[in-house]
């Protein structure tokens, strides 16, 4: 029946709007019964009792009043269902967003941004539809027919029974055909989505096809594919639409039966015309909620599908707290002891870090080198508390890392990533990310230290120039220097640096390394190193491969050993 316990539980938070939706919906049904009654009464009076317009004006007024009532009630019912649905979706959207933030790197690494975005937007919209249309309709589909039956039974038992017996046939058929149709419909959706992903594949790869000179052939391929999909889809629909046929047939044929059997009894004078007409007008109203449910069936399926996705995220564990609580009394800097830590990304088979063990010494520069995929970035993420480790211990001085509030720790560590994110906003705001209350003076000082001040001054609006997603883009070198300025502004005792590898202009490159050298001075630094100079000057080098530390020492010690370090250095030299 397309209900999900977790989804229905969310209705608890919107009890009042939900109740109002149902109450007004039932009042609307009552008003439409009133409409039918006064319509039938008016016609009866004019037709059989030969009343004039003035005689029946009372009934017409009552008809108008019930129409107005129906108008108001259905409006109210819709209003409250919208309110209910929107309240639920706003809550869910916010909850989801907050949860994703707290899940952090371990989660975003396994999901694609586009995919998540889809869940956050389209998925939530589907739920809105589910709560607005499907859930109330489930109740109406039962309650409204019952209400109509209560009115019809005292007037005519036979018609009442016809309706009563045909009504369950509709859900019966819906389930019978619906089950088969449901499976088929799902298959059809899958084929349709496969077709559009084929199309997307071709368009996205169009450049490749042109490079190979084969793009023209794909016109006929697309047509062929589309025709094949149409044929198979139609085969599915042929059966899926049978449920619509059955529903329609039941409703119309039973209306026809009621008309004929009442007509025959009228003929013999065994029945009152007024009631006969009333029942005839109500008959379609009786089936309408059931048919509406059939129409909403799809909203039900889509809502559930979206919900599965959303709850899968919400139920993920491993969140990291984001607010700084009481600060632990540690006078920084103290060494960080990394003891046999292991980390596996969710869903991955091989660990990203395996029994990594070292001491991050105060005011020393520790460099990590190793081929891509060795676990260097993961190690940096662990130290930034962006990932929670599976096994092993980390001590900050004599305190356990996990007992220390993550937000507090992050106040004392700066990070220069390899591909810094530039947020939409001004340059000033982007640098001030590290400290929103910083004065322009301090920001400029940080910019000067990062060798980005001169560049900013060439811009028409200086520090107030808009950059980021929708603004003008910065080059890789400029973004790097903004990230450096952030780190200078933060002025934290600990620092994690991922050295740039992008092929930069020689002058830019020199500036960045000069500035990095200054930044590292008198700080406890971990560098993911790509430059020979950096590792040569490092106090301590960790060579990583496949999640492990395979060699450690300083440059002179390591270059003397046969190992990965020497290989890496020599490969560079020989180039």
């Amino acid at each position: 029946m397309n209900l999900d316990k977790r989804l229905l539980q969310t209705v608890r938070y919107v009890k009042t709007p939900f109740a109002l939706t149902i109450i007004f919906g039932m009042l609307r049904a009552a008003a439409s019964i009133g409409q039918a009654f006064y319509l039938a009464t008016t016609i009866d009076a004019v037709f059989l009792q030969h009343k004039t317009l003035t005689d029946v004006s009372g009934f017409l007024w009552l008809f108008l009043i019930s129409s107005l009532a129906r108008f108001l009630f259905s409006w109210q019912s819709e209003f409250w269902s919208v309110t209910m649905a929107c309240r639920i979706t706003t809550g869910l959207r916010q909850k989801l967003q907050h949860h994703i933030f707290r899940l952090g790197a371990a989660f975003t690494r396994t999901r694609q941004t586009g995919d998540l975005l889809n869940t956050l937007t389209t998925g939530i919209d589907k739920l809105e539809d589910y709560f607005r249309h499907y859930v109330p309709q489930l109740i109406f589909a039962v309650a409204i027919p019952v209400l109509i039956l209560i009115c019809i039974f005292p007037l005519d038992v036979l018609s009442g029974f016809i309706l009563l017996f045909t009504a369950p046939l509709i859900p019966f058929f819906m389930i019978l055909i619906g089950d088969a149709a449901h499976a088929l419909t799902r298959k059809q959706w899958k084929t349709l989505s496969r077709m559009s992903s084929f199309f997307l594949d071709v368009i996205q790869g169009l450049m490749m096809l042109k490079i190979f000179g084969r793009s023209r052939e794909y016109t006929s391929k697309i047509r062929e594919m589309a025709d094949r999909f149409r044929a198979s889809t139609m085969n599915v629909l042929r059966i899926a639409f049978l449920s619509a046929l059955a529903l329609e047939m039941l409703a119309t044929i039973s209306t026809a039966i009621i008309a004929v059997q009442i007509g025959l009894r009228l003929l013999n004078g065994q029945f009152v015309f007024q009631y006969a007409l009333f029942i005839l007008i109500l008959a379609p109203e009786f089936y309408q909620p059931l048919r509406d449910l059939g129409i909403r069936f799809h909203a039900g399926i889509e809502g559930i599908t979206a919900a599965v996705d959303i709850f899968a995220i919400l139920e993920r564990r491993g969140t990291i707290s984001l607010t700084a609580e009481n600060s632990p009394e540690i006078s920084l800097p103290v060494p960080v002891y990394i003891q046999n830590i292991t980390f596996i990304y969710p869903g991955a088979r091989v660990p990203a870090l395996l029994s990594v063990h070292f001491t991050w010494n105060v005011n020393q520069n520790t460099a990590i080198v190793g081929p891509s995929g060795a676990g260097k970035t993961t190690l940096a993420f662990v130290l930034l508390r962006l990932l929670a480790i599976d096994q092993g211990l980390i001590h900050l001085g004599d305190r356990q890392f996990k007992e220390i509030n993550a937000a507090w720790w992050r106040q004392h560590i700066a990070w220069v990533p390899q591909h810094p994110t530039i947020f939409y906003g001004t340059i000033r705001e982007n640098i001030a990310l590290a400290d929103p209350n910083a004065s322009l003076d301090r920001i400029q000082r940080a910019a000067k230290q990062a060798y980005v001040h001169t560049f900013v001054q060439t811009l028409p609006e200086g520090y107030e120039t808009k950059i980021g997603e929708r603004g003008s883009r910065l080059s890789g070198g400029e973004a790097q220097r903004i990230a450096l300025a952030r780190a200078f502004l933060k002025n934290a005792p600990y620092l994690v640096v991922d050295e740039p590898t992008a092929n930069l202009d020689p002058v830019t490159e020199q500036n960045i390394y000069e500035s990095l050298k200054n930044l590292k001075r008198n700080r406890t630094v971990l560098t993911i190193a790509h430059r020979l100079n950096t590792v040569r000057n490092a106090d301590h080098i960790l060579v990583m491969k496949e999640g492990r530390i395979v060699q450690r020492g300083n440059h002179n010690e390591l270059i003397g050993q046969h190992g990965l370090y020497r290989q890496l250095v020599q490969a560079g030299d020989a180039a």
Binding site: F63, C86, K210, A226, L245, I262, L266, V369, L433
Partner: protein
């Protein structure tokens, strides 16, 4: 309105299907009207207690309409879906053809944008079922019900015509008017929200480290609440239309009753028809009920179609196929004084000249963003130079259609796209006639063979959607294998080692230099460059140096500096 005409024109090849399904749709509603009218007739006549013979025809009619309505509904859904799917495939092919003949879009567009295009095309499919067809059916029904009513009373017919037309036109217009502004706001708020979400996802780590997440959350919450309140407004309007439509129905009934009742009392209209008229009108309103949502769908489709037409408009004309130059005569490739600026205004090449004699190995080096890759866009005619000329032998490249350029220059792009399927599918794309031996050889050269052997199905292993299961380096090696498979006389490699580790990088460069074809190697990794016949150093779109490795080192200019820089770099 122009968009509307264009859309209708595109649907013309399927006009008979469209007419057929509109007719069946009309029959469905008409059967409903017939059912209610004959039913009303039966009980009204029966109330007068005539002999049963009078009712025979009507009873048969009720049975007929009761059954035919279901059947028509079924047929309608079948035919209209079939038509929709036909139109959809038509739209896809049409758009692909446009896109194919149109260079720029095939360059670098984000997957997100292409996704939007695909969604836009999907939106067009609703044009017919939800926009074009409901008004047609409702016009037919209004005409027929008016004609029917005329046989009872002229006044009633006229009044009904006026009231129903008013409802059919008025409510959707009301809907459009109120809708447009809210919709626009929702669209812009939505894109703001998704931009912010994307930014939050991408910059999550930095936001976390700098403790900025709580304020970001507040921002998102605020936007999300604003969006919800707008959406609420919109759905309220939707709901209101529905409700107003129903109210119009009641008012119409009331007006018709007020007109008809005196006619029954005074003018001798049989009372039987009073019930018939009322129930007929009730059923007829089914035809106008979908009109407000048709108007709303039109809004959406109009925008989608506008975007698509805008993209499709800029297609280029087709060029006739020419004979390719005779490559046994070893023609050389000449680029003379090329200037080129991208449509977005970035200057990419300035006075760029280069001659590649047949058999020569050329390397182009320079920092990223210096315009090196632009040459490829020009060779494949994705774009045309603003001035200067490119020729092969004695033929100007401009005279060839783009696909023939692809037969002359085999390009290994910097960001290759991997198609959904197997490795073999992707290799076949590069050269459908390649034999097993050639494939193996190409894979060995690209350093892909050993990796392929570790896969459960070898080259026939499914590599997921868009090659999701391949790493960056594996994708690049696949692209290299594709390049080695090409049978084109010239090869162009664009940063072939950007995602490779040191060992694979050396191997690949070695294989490239062993090629017997002329090639252009675009790279910023200065490896094995002494094996190149000539090196061009490009900076900001201009050639600043040219010569051999040794000559350039002696110059002590840009190249020498880059070389020294690289010596200080570890490859990891």
């Amino acid at each position: 309105m122009n968009v509307f005409v264009q859309l209708v024109k595109m649907a013309l090849p399927f006009k008979w299907w469209i007419i057929l399904s509109a007719l069946i749709g009309f029959c469905t509603v008409a059967s409903g009207i017939g059912l209610m009218m004959t039913s009303a007739y039966i009980i009204a006549m029966a109330a007068l207690q005539p002999s049963i013979a009078v009712l025979h025809v009507a009873i048969a009619g009720v049975r007929f309409f009761g059954i035919s309505r279901g059947i028509f509904r079924y047929l309608e859904r079948m035919v209209s879906h079939n038509t929709t799917l036909k139109l959809l495939s038509h739209y896809r092919v049409w758009f692909y053809e446009k896109l194919e003949s149109f260079a720029e879009l095939s360059g670098q567009r984000s997957g997100d944008l292409l996704n939007k295009i695909v969604n836009d095309i999907q939106t067009l499919e609703h044009f017919y079922v939800r926009v074009l067809y409901p008004p047609v059916v409702s016009v037919l029904i209004i005409c027929v019900i008016t004609l029917l009513m005329r046989s009872f009373s002229w006044v009633v017919a006229l009044m009904l015509f006026v009231l129903m037309s008013l409802t059919a036109v008025g409510v959707p217009l009301l809907s459009l008017y109120k809708h447009r502004k809210i919709n626009r706001n929702i669209v812009s708020l939505r894109s703001e929200l998704s931009a912010l979400t994307v930014e939050n996802m991408q910059g999550m780590h930095e936001l976390a480290v700098y403790g900025r997440i709580p304020e970001r959350e507040q921002k998102i919450d605020k936007l999300s609440e604003r969006l919800t309140s707008l959406q609420k407004k919109r759905t309220n309007i939707h709901a209101l239309h529905h409700v107003v439509m129903n109210f119009f129905k009641s008012v119409t009934l009331l007006v018709i009753l007020i007109i008809t009742i005196p006619q029954v009392t005074n003018a001798g209209l049989s009372g039987v028809f009073l019930a018939v008229i009322v129930l007929g009108i009730l059923a007829a309103f089914e035809a106008v009920a979908p009109l407000p949502s048709a108007a709303q769908h039109w809004e959406e489709i109009n925008r989608a179609a506008q975007r698509l037409f805008d993209i499709a408009e800029t297609s280029t004309s087709k060029q006739p196929t020419l004979h390719l130059p005779d490559f046994s005569e070893k023609p050389s490739l000449m680029c003379r004084h090329i200037h080129f600026t991208y449509p977005d205004g970035t200057t990419a090449l300035k006075n760029f000249s280069l001659t590649v004699h047949y058999g020569e190995k050329i390397a182009i080096v320079g920092p990223t963003g210096s315009g090196k890759s632009t040459l490829i866009h020009l060779l494949l005619k994705f774009y045309q130079p603003d001035s200067g000329c490119i020729s092969v032998g004695r033929q100007d490249l401009l005279e060839y259609p783009a696909y023939q350029c692809a037969e002359m220059f085999g390009v290994v792009p910097q960001h290759p796209y991997v198609f959904t399927g197997t490795i073999r599918d992707n290799l076949n794309l590069a050269n459908p006639h390649a034999e097993e031996k050639e494939i193996r050889r190409a894979c060995e050269k690209a350093g892909l063979y050993d990796f392929m052997q570790t896969l459960p199905g070898g080259p026939d292993t499914w590599i997921g959607e868009h090659g999701l299961r391949l790493s960056g380096g594996e994708k690049q090696r696949l692209a290299l294998a594709q390049g080695f498979l090409r049978s084109t006389p010239f090869l162009v490699f664009d940063e072939p080692s950007a995602h490779l580790d040191a060992v694979n990088e050396r191997h690949v460069f070695n294989e490239i230099y062993r090629l017997r074809k002329p090639f252009i190697l675009i790279t910023h990794r200065l490896i094995d460059l002494h094996r190149a016949d000539r090196i061009l150093v490009v900076r900001n779109g201009e050639i600043v140096e040219r010569g051999t490795h040794d000559e350039l080192l002696k110059n002590e200019f840009v190249y020498a500096k880059m070389w020294q820089n690289q010596q200080r770099q570890l490859i990891c």
